[in-house]
Symmetry: C3
Subunit: 280 residues, 3 copies
Amino acid sequence: MEPFALKNALSRVQETCPLVHCITNYVTVNDCANALLGVGASPIMSDEPLDVEDITSICGGLVLNIGTLNVATIAGMRAAAARATALGHPIVLDPVGAGASALRTETASELLDEYGVRVVRGNMSEVKAVSGASASTRGVDVDPADAVTDASLLEAAAFAKDVAARTGCVVAITGATDVVADAGRAFAVRNGSSLMGKITGTGCMLSAITGAFAVANEEALLEGVLAAVACMGVAGQLAAARMEGPDGTGSFRTYLLDALSTMDGDILEAKAAIEEIQEA
Amino acid sequence: MEPFALKNALSRVQETCPLVHCITNYVTVNDCANALLGVGASPIMSDEPLDVEDITSICGGLVLNIGTLNVATIAGMRAAAARATALGHPIVLDPVGAGASALRTETASELLDEYGVRVVRGNMSEVKAVSGASASTRGVDVDPADAVTDASLLEAAAFAKDVAARTGCVVAITGATDVVADAGRAFAVRNGSSLMGKITGTGCMLSAITGAFAVANEEALLEGVLAAVACMGVAGQLAAARMEGPDGTGSFRTYLLDALSTMDGDILEAKAAIEEIQEA
Amino acid sequence: MEPFALKNALSRVQETCPLVHCITNYVTVNDCANALLGVGASPIMSDEPLDVEDITSICGGLVLNIGTLNVATIAGMRAAAARATALGHPIVLDPVGAGASALRTETASELLDEYGVRVVRGNMSEVKAVSGASASTRGVDVDPADAVTDASLLEAAAFAKDVAARTGCVVAITGATDVVADAGRAFAVRNGSSLMGKITGTGCMLSAITGAFAVANEEALLEGVLAAVACMGVAGQLAAARMEGPDGTGSFRTYLLDALSTMDGDILEAKAAIEEIQEA
């Protein structure tokens, strides 16, 4: 699988401009739309059950983010997911806050079980919750006890591969160190910046662009997801490097979208810190 | 009608600070609110059917944007439109994604047919769909086959005038070249920047400020809409001129709001590139 | 009570990182989330009635903002408020647009009357409306006739203390001069910038961070609210001081979040302009 050809994965997004249908929370939806446009894709948001089937039909992929789910949008997610599954479109699930409420855990689990979800992207607490492993969450943040560290990396990789095997998904567990796995292989991505946790939406944006990378790289889905994860992480680093003087999180958010929208494939490959996690 | 008195049209917005009721999509709603504040107007967002009649009654105009329509907000749009029509308030319709789904096409068409809509602002695919002309759309983007070019400008002008004549609206079809028409005259506006299509919300923001310009310039609606279209286009050019170094779409979005909120009437008139489209 | 120990109030937020459940409007929700993260708290947004009880249970406080209320989110607010009241969590109410519609006035009044609201934060028109005093509002802006001036400061202080006494809340009436009071004492806060009224969301952001300050400073609620109000005002001044050249409201919004997210306790105390309003 080496080299990861991150550059090619990004180029395929930019060249094919995939239409991505997003049913996503209203907190970060603007950032998700701009992130998709930034990497060269095109977003469409629609959550009304009477609207989503038509919309998803003209798209290449679907992103489901339960960050501000409600009974109407859950129905919209189900209708969209059913249609996307029937059409063979890749579906990305972001189980925001799974584990924090019964409704979130159940909704995410049902979406994962009943439709053709191809990628799950969340923090460790959320992925544990949605996969039925015991977990607690601190709201929409990872439980500190779940954070992936060097000490827990092998365990995290084994868990991610297990979830991938059971669900048939590529699993992206993001945090200070990201773990991306399918049933056979797991990788650590050591990019990003601690500032990314100081603004809302970096996880949601990653899930959104993962939808674009999944559509454009459907034949090599693991590589596509790795490229999306690395792209967001490198963008975070580039944004952090611009911080100066009185800059705070407002500027960081702007710089992050700047970096996503000007991402160069060569820089992405040069800065991406991806390594396969080998079992002990 | 010459000179367009763009400066006066803008001044009337700034001096009267029109209250504009927006029922608009949750993707770009923050940008719409800030765009309205930027040009000197005041936004109010309300979509609950039980709330909209009171709200629209205290406003001067109404903007209906179907970008993330749902059954509840459609009911809100209808109730607000009925009241605004009864009160004689100008209504601006932005048929986001008309042609992309049956619900969007039908909703936009019904709003246009049943209430006193005074301005329609969309891309060519959307305006075709809402006016009953055959059209396809690429989601919320214009179908490339529909894009207005120099070669198709006369045809676009004739179409816009025909829609205006049939609906009694001022029609603003925006794209690389914008076409603004009433039943009698059509104009091309050659402002803007290609960067405007790389962020979400420039069309929505234009529709929002068009609501303010329509309220403040109701006696000269065509000129008011032309001023709004030129204002957004010139703001886009001013924003694009600030781009440097690592700036990307995050910075462009900031610069665009900066330019809108500091727009000078003399600069607007100096930079506006408006010409009447004369029939062959 | 002197000194106000604003620095300590801020430190308590930063050190305890309170989880704050927000049911807030979709116009400014992203700004509210980033404002909370900026001051060191953690936001969770959830408005679905089936979800809010679980979510509010894991949080420390609740912020209710009726800016884009609808029948579903009103039910969510009620369910969340009931649970938060039962758990003794501080509740902050932002009655956006109270007075502008019957639904808003009634909803805000009922939330205030029926649940354990601890802080009300609004402009004078809104606070008058929610407390049953006669009032008019100009949409979501204060009615000019209601604006707090030096001439009306004593009257405003007496009104705020009266509302506080009747409701058991700390009352924060914000405008060019802010008035913060409990039943016994009232304070004027003379911070902020006129630019804050040129962007959407500064009031909403203040209400959001007030939730965090209320959780972290529950034993000294008046001081906590004063610290939140001063923090937002000083952030506005710091942001205004960075404006230069072509900067407009887009940059100001970025600078405001920058200032909130880098607020230093010593600078906050040095710049805060708080004085007790003594009865004549």
